[in-house]
């Protein structure tokens, strides 16, 4: 969160005029998610942490679930700025999406199967049982489509989709929205246009 956006976000909320026909409930909702995006811990009562232990997947087998939970965190791990894909509930999001949008089931299941089969070809065991180094060797082979070998095309196509879905789930979560620093979708009293410091930075 930069100083510009924090200042703007808080000023924006403080400056909402009475003339705006916003109900107290709407304002509270706006405030809650701005403070949330700003990372003010404890201001929203909703559970911040996913509860993986209690969750029983509906679309994945236990083996697939272990692989999914591992793989999403290779895609989006915890870093200095934000938590990981599992912290953000991405596996649970994928389980929901597969349940609701059946067209995602085949490529997901086939792809997870491909990952295990390729690991067995290369290392004699499934992805979950491989070492961190072995897993990374496979990911390096499929995560860069322009450099990937033709024989791993199926893996590349799967990983493109899996990475897209991981990003969808992560960046639309509370953790992901805060990571990006998105501070919109809230009432602004007066539209001032682009802040001068932004234009300056972009040379516009």
């Amino acid at each position: 969160m930069t100083d510009i956006s924090r200042r703007e976000a808080l000023q924006g909320l403080a400056a909402i005029p009475a003339g705006l026909a916003l109900s107290p409930e709407m304002l509270e909702r706006a405030r809650a998610h701005v403070s949330d995006a700003l990372g003010d811990q404890g201001t929203t009562p909703a559970a911040r942490q996913a509860q993986p232990a209690a969750y029983v997947p509906k679309q994945f087998t236990p083996d697939e679930w272990r692989l999914v939970r591992l793989l999403v965190d290779y895609v989006i791990p915890r870093d200095a700025t934000s938590g990981s894909a599992t912290d953000a509930g991405v596996p649970e999001f994928m389980d929901f999406i597969l349940g609701e949008y059946a067209s995602n089931r085949t490529w997901m299941k086939d792809g997870l199967g491909w990952m295990n089969a390729e690991c067995r070809r290369r290392f004699g065991k499934g992805f979950v049982s491989c070492t961190d180094g072995q897993r990374r060797e496979l990911l390096d082979a499929i995560a860069f489509p322009r450099k990937a070998a033709p024989e791993v095309k199926a893996g590349v196509e799967f990983f493109n989709r899996f990475r897209n879905m991981t990003a969808s789930g992560f960046y639309s979560s509370r953790i992901g929205v805060a990571d990006l620093g998105y501070i919109g979708n809230r009432p602004v009293a007066k539209w001032e246009g682009t802040p001068p410091e932004v234009l300056k930075k972009l040379g516009l």
Binding site: M26, E92, F96, A167, Y171, V177, L180, G184, W191, E197
Partner: protein
């Protein structure tokens, strides 16, 4: 349709029955109730009230779906509009080889819940294209006939924009337009260098208090329905005020079947199906107005057959369903390195572009006859389902881990896209008719579509593609996709995809070759009118909503005048 049980006879005869509650129907109801008429309105969908039903301010994580589409909301779960290109129980068919998709909205307010609020007047040239280039037809009315009604629409509803004095993009009565977003500054500067006219957008969003409505609060979520009614949609800006007069009876879940006529051939009311029970019903009225959307109104007319109207009402010329047009469209997006690592700020603004490019070239110097306007997109909008899909297309070519997270951060907001929206010339091979076999779930014959783009449209879309690629190159960017080939139609969207169907109940100067006169009145039925996109004679490169409403207001004034004179 077997009719074993007689329809329940209605007790009341209204002054006016309106089919449809969108831009045309809403405006007609607003104007006629204000003029003292008793009005009954049939809407095929459910009630909708933005102030209660909107998903405004929902964050992506407020739903496990993260904003993804649902069967009834193809533009995302929080989009206000219930509808789509496929509606359960309401099929349509296509002739062999035809690519056409028919959007239907099924809710109070119709498509006004869906659109981008782009509110452009047709210009003087748009009403007389045949005179100018020999193609299509002239309208029976001119810009000067419609101008006072455009002014009235501006004053009633409110619109922002800027005075530009462009010859074929007339100015309106504008609120102040919002300042550009960061990427829009870049597009504006680039357009200026390339000689592409780029001006503030003209959207029906109010930026100061207007007729009791609060100004826009710039949350960027117009498409979800505005809780403060700061943008235009028919329910809260037209229909609620009409209801407050006490003279509007609203009937939802009412699927119109046909216009009922008496022995003299005049309209007596509308037969409809109560979708909640499946039963046949009717309303009686002295005047009938169809505003069900261009194709749906054509369908109702074609299904309204009697001994006096053997080919359907308003169709003695056989023109109903003919000369169907949609806006041409294609999109190009690219990655703009200069916008990498954009400092975080709230770039939401209104729910639409703050700038656009009206048609700026002279077709006499080009190999296609009609123009297009350009819409611009990009920015730091709310992340949701589908967020930054295709990260492998950015310079690093993919990846995973902490480096991938850095990519998402730095590339978010560094994509700019252009959408061309152009004028199709009406042609004899693009039309709809009744399918001889297929019926919908209530037994009503459905439409069969025929569609053909011609070189006019293909060449125009090719020009869009080339222009957008040049704009992105001039910004120092890289286009995501290769130039579509001629065999790919240069990337032209299917007919119906842009959701601007017009013209299949066209007005004209003669009952021999048009369905309606210049007041949108059926030539062969003096108490039947059409106030949606059906009467249009040409498409223009402008979004049709503002013209639909100006014409609906004008037709309503004519109906009021005739009623006062005792003629209706």
């Amino acid at each position: 349709m077997p009719d074993a049980t007689p329809r329940r006879q209605p007790a009341v005869t209204y002054d006016v029955a309106i089919v449809g509650s969108g831009a045309g129907g809403g405006m007609t109801a607003h104007a006629l109730t204000r003029a003292g008429a008793s009005v009954v309105m049939l809407e095929a969908g459910e009630m909708w009230d933005n102030t209660k039903d909107s998903a405004m301010f929902k964050m992506p994580y407020d739903s496990p779906r993260r904003g993804a589409s649902t069967p009834e909301r193809p533009f995302g779960e929080w989009d206000a509009c219930i509808g789509g290109w496929q509606v359960p129980g309401e099929p349509y068919t296509k002739a062999e080889g035809t690519k056409f998709d028919w959007w239907r909205a099924r809710m109070l307010g119709g498509r006004t819940n869906h659109w981008g609020r782009i509110s452009l007047r047709f210009g003087p040239d748009d009403f007389r294209r045949k005179t100018l280039d020999g193609l299509g037809d002239d309208w029976p009315i001119t810009y000067d006939d419609v101008k006072p009604w455009y002014d009235e629409v501006d004053k009633l509803i409110g619109i922002f924009g800027s005075i530009e004095n462009l010859p074929n993009d007339p100015d309106g009565i504008f609120h102040d337009a919002p300042a550009p977003r960061y990427y829009e500054h870049l597009v504006k500067q680039t357009s200026d260098r390339m000689g592409v006219t780029c001006i503030p957008a003209r959207l029906s969003i109010i930026t100061k208090p207007h007729n009791g409505r609060a100004p826009c609060h710039f949350c960027g979520q117009c498409n979800r329905g505005c809780m403060t009614n700061s943008n235009f949609s028919s329910p809260n800006v037209l229909i609620l005020p009409a209801l407050r007069t006490g003279r509007l009876k609203l009937v939802t879940n009412a699927m119109a079947r046909e216009v009922l006529t008496g022995a003299d051939g005049r309209a007596t009311g509308v037969a409809y199906i109560d979708k909640t029970t499946g039963e046949d019903r009717e309303v009686r009225a002295k005047v009938v107005v169809l505003a069900a959307s261009a194709c749906e109104s054509a369908r109702i007319l074609l299904n309204s057959r009697s001994s006096r109207h053997p080919n359907g009402i308003a169709n003695q010329s056989g023109v109903v369903g003919k000369y169907l047009t949609d806006t041409t469209g294609t999109d190009v997006a690219g990655f703009i390195p200069r916008l990498v690592d954009v400092p975080r700020h709230n770039a939401d603004g209104v729910g639409g572009g703050h700038i656009f490019m009206p048609w700026w070239l002279d077709n006499k110097k080009l190999d296609f006859p009609r123009g297009y306007h350009i819409e611009v997109w990009g920015g730091l909008g709310a992340p949701g389902y589908g967020f930054m899909g295709g990260i492998q297309n950015y310079p690093e070519g993919g990846g995973y881990g902490p480096g991938l997270k850095q990519q998402y951060r730095k590339y978010w907001g560094a994509t700019v896209g252009f959408s061309g929206r152009g004028e199709m010339v009406p042609n004899a091979k693009s039309f709809c008719e009744l399918d001889p076999e297929v019926k919908d779930r209530w037994g009503i014959p459905v439409l069969r579509f025929h569609w053909e783009w011609r070189d006019h449209e293909y060449q125009q879309v090719k020009h869009m593609q080339e222009t957008f690629r040049a704009l992105i190159a001039e910004m120092g960017g890289e286009v995501w996709s290769p130039m579509p080939t001629k065999e790919q139609g240069y990337g032209i969207a299917n007919g119906g995809a842009i959701i601007h169907e017009l013209g299949c109940v066209r007005m004209g100067t003669s009952e021999r070759d048009s369905a309606l006169d210049g007041n949108c009145r059926a030539w062969d039925c003096d108490n039947l009118f059409v106030t949606d996109g059906g009467p249009f004679v040409s498409q223009a490169d402008k979004n049709p909503t503002w013209t639909i409403m100006a014409l609906a207001m004008r037709t309503s004034a004519f109906i009021t005048e005739q009623r006062k004179a005792g003629a209706l």
